[in-house]
Amino acid sequence: MQLGQHLPVLQVVIPLLSAPLCLLLRNGRLAWMFTLAVSWLVLAGAVWLLLQVLAHGTVSYALGAWPAPWGIEYHVDHVSAFVLLIVSGISAVVLPFAGISVAREIPADRVSLFYTLYLLCLTGLLGIVITGDAFNLFVFLEISALSSYALISQGRDRRALTASYHYLILGTIGATFILIGVGLLYMMTGTLNMQDIAVRLPAVTDTRTVRTAFAFLIVGISLKLALFPLHLWLPNAYTYAPSVVTAFLAATATKVGVYVLLRFVFTIFGAAFAFQVMSLGPILLVLALLAIFSASTVAIFQDNLKRMLAYSSVAQIGYMVLGISFASLTGLTAGILHLFNHALMKGALFLALGAVFYQLGTVQLTQLRGLGRRMPWTMAAIVIGGLSLVGVPLTVGFISKWYLILAALESGWWPVAVLVLLGSLLAMVYVGRLVETAYFHAPPEDDREVREAPLSLLLPIWILILANLYFGIDTSLTVGVARQAAALLLGVSP
């Protein structure tokens, strides 16, 4: 028995078992270091898994050695390995930042509790991605969701509580819808294993029950991934959550939501059913475009920067869904690629705002006047991250946009390509507003001494920023894996 064989299950078991251990560590600093170690371990595992998948193809693991249709199967293919890498990678970068940021934002007696919740949330997100069992997916979805409700409620602002409650209500509705969908599928096929459902589904596909299941699942998942107009929980939740939680969730939770959408639409139902029988394409296309334009426009008028970026996230989710809605190889590649790229941008930007919050105690736009002079490294990071959001060449945002446009042109929908580009102009406006305030306005009068953020905050930010630039130039890893993942989902050769 080799350790490597158990790698898939270890991805979930390690953080899951660490969570209660973390609770036992009463010292906040110790809990942080422990969480950090666990997260890095998980990242190492994720990298290993990705390499295995790239070398040998799909990895399958039978939980408790019960063979697949009966027991729970963990199923790691290109798509899940890629998303695993995103989740664990972002977590590994965010946690070093968390050290002093959490110590400042969370009361000392609750810090170890905070990290326990964090580990549970990580467990849930990883579990969703790695599992090959539809019901197991729902369980992990609930683990991650419940822990993130609690994490969001830890924000210093009291409005965090209502935001969290709001999210709880909508998130639960979404989860219930997903559960109903999974239940209906189980009723029709008698199995919960995804591959197995996929095999049995074609026989019963022409029933109202399956169509209803599809509808429930799509709506439920759309709530989870905050697809317009089901995004209403997101802006408040991201605005009032602690900085670290915002950065982590913004870069991972919605990505996992998109992953679930991909899984159900392509692996379980199959592209033919979803896009030809249920005509999902136009629905997603219209919603995605609405998301891009409405959310970007709203973002322009926000004075709280976290809220501005939250709306920008809704818009960016629109880009991912847009790519998926083409249901073509290039389109799907663009969507999956943007999962990764957007995680890099938003992770970096929310962390940078976290550093601003750490120094200023606020992220109101008006308070950022003249900050370019006083926190040069943080603001430079925000500028580069913002450019990436706009999609300027040499950043990851450009790569995503390029593939999206190509996908639109390939499908012959050039007006969509124009709209995508117009959407990035809106991003330019809200990023430009931030830059002008930080660099062209004199600092506010009541001049407290504001200095650059400490190195332990800057380092994670700049790791992500440099990743933004690196993967904007050398895309062999990201595009390569995304393309293979897309080919796998569509069942064609890459």
């Binding site: 999609g391 446009i405 042109l409 050039w414 102009l425 330019m428 430009g432 130039i473 050398d474 895309t475």
Partner: protein, 480 residues
């Protein structure tokens, strides 16, 4: 060729490191500029021999690398830009100190980055690479345009970024992606790559996207950024907005015309005719607007828009004379316009005057500057003994070859308009009775560094008239 990109970039940290010692900082800039010019000159012989060396920087998309290829048009542009960077550096030492500008280190640093981007544009081997450096150029010049940090500078910066990034993202990027999906390549290939890939109407639309997508070419109605950007310090206006940035724009259009569409295809496209009329309208309208500007820099800005129209027109005509004329006009207009801007800056530093109406009788106080202004004006108008004569000559032949008499008429009328808005300035400076405070005192020229730069570029205008041979040979190699 790769060195040409790295030299200005290496200069950036050195400039920043030497921020406390201005003399050292300026020496770094001067050395880098000299080195760069030397490098670009050393590349010339191989191009004339027909070699087309290639460097691949990275490959962000499979089959679509970031590549540099040396070819005559790019070499021409790189030569002009690197030479004028050197001269401008000399000039800005006098100007920035004489005018006591703030944040000089930031100024020199971004200037060097912008130059690296210009080199990238000049040597780009395919449209994607060109686009990447084009955007870098826009972004790196934004801090230069908004250098003053005032509300006016901020508004100008908004217009600048908004128009340049906006057009390039919405139109140009779309056009490039479209080209890629049609032709499967964006390499600059002599003879073009798009011929026969799609119906003429589609290609016409694509050409329109390209021509308007290159906002830096300042074709109406996307020209507003150029007058707005004139709030920048004069050396920036001079190098970036008379030479590097705007020329990067028309250079791009020329590249697109010669290497993506190819002249054979261009001549047959109906859209190309319509765009020629747009260019002609830009030439005339901008000249008319220029006549009404009292602010000297604004007048020069509109004059630039009009002259860029010439280059675009030549590129769209796409016959041999048109291409040669366009390429030569890039060079001759660069020398003429940079001299004019230098003069405007010299007047500002020496007398703090910005309006044309204040400059009566100024010739007695600043004889050298105003003499230079006169010669450069002649070059812009296209009169001997200046270089502008030749480029306008070839452009005129280009319109005749294409049988477009109307366009020829536009060129001629515009030359008359040029006379009307440029020549009165030096003439009044010399022959009108001095007014206001121009009466007092003897000569009072700009700082020596600035004056030296003005003299060099003025001589450049004259040299291009008497020895246009090398320039012509280089220009006639384009597309081979």
């Amino acid at each position: 060729m790769l060195l040409a990109l790295t030299v200005p970039l290496v200069a950036v940290p050195l400039v920043v490191a030497a921020r406390r010692r201005p003399n050292l900082r300026e020496s770094v800039t001067l050395i880098a500029a000299t080195l760069l010019f030397g490098l670009v000159v050393s590349l010339a012989p191989q191009v004339m021999d027909g070699a087309r060396p290639t460097v691949i920087l990275a490959e962000p998309f499979p089959g679509l690398p970031l590549a540099l290829v040396l070819e005559p048009l790019g070499l021409l542009f790189a030569l002009i830009a690197s030479f004028l960077w050197l001269i401008t550096s000399v000039y800005s030492i006098g100007y920035m100190r004489g005018h006591r500008e703030q944040h000089q280190t930031r100024f020199y640093a971004y200037f060097a980055i912008a130059l690296a981007a210009v080199m990238g544009v000049a040597f780009a081997g395919n449209m994607l690479t060109l686009f990447v450096f084009y955007e870098v150029l826009t972004l790196s010049t934004y801090p230069l345009v908004t250098h003053a940090g005032t509300d006016q500078a901020r508004r100008a910066g908004r217009v600048y970024l908004g128009l340049l990034l906006g057009t390039s993202i919405v139109f140009l990027l779309l056009a490039i992606a479209w080209t890629w999906s049609l032709a499967g390549t964006t390499d600059f290939t002599p003879g073009g790559i798009l011929s026969g890939t799609a119906p003429a109407a589609t290609l016409g639309l694509l050409l329109t996207l390209y021509v308007f997508g290159v906002g830096k070419a300042a074709l109406m109605p996307f020209h507003r950024w150029l007058p707005a950007a004139m709030v920048a310090p004069t050396p920036v206006s001079a190098l970036l907005h008379a030479v590097a940035v705007v020329k990067a724009g028309v250079f791009t259009i020329l590249k697109v015309s010669v290497y993506l569409f190819g002249s054979g295809l261009m001549i047959t496209l109906v859209a190309s005719h319509w765009l020629q009329y747009v260019a002609a309208a830009t030439i005339l309208l901008a000249s008319l607007v220029a006549m009404r500007q009292d602010n000297l820099k604004a007048r020069l800005a509109y004059s630039t828009i009009s002259q860029l129209g010439y280059v675009v027109l030549g590129a769209l005509l796409a016959n041999a004379a048109g291409i040669v004329g366009s390429a030569m006009h890039i060079a001759t207009h660069a020398f003429g316009k940079i001299t004019l801007f230098f003069c405007a800056g010299a007047i500002l530093v020496a007398t703090h005057k910005t309006e044309v109406s204040q400059m009566r009788g100024l010739g007695r106080r600043m004889p050298i500057t105003m003499m230079a202004f006169l010669i450069a004006s002649l070059s812009i108008i296209g009169l001997p003994p200046t270089g502008g004569t030749w480029s306008k000559w070839y452009l005129a032949i280009g319109t005749l070859e294409a049988g477009q008499l109307a366009l020829l008429a536009v060129l001629m009328i515009s030359s008359l308009l040029n006379i009307a808005y440029l020549l009165p300035i030096p003439l009044r400076a010399f022959f009108s009775a001095p007014s206001g405070d121009n009466v007092t005192g003897g000569t009072h020229e700009a700082p020596l560094f600035s004056l030296a730069a003005i003299i060099i570029t003025t001589l450049g205008c004259l040299v291009l008239f008497f020895y246009p041979e090398p320039l012509y040979r280089l220009a006639s190699q384009i597309g081979r």
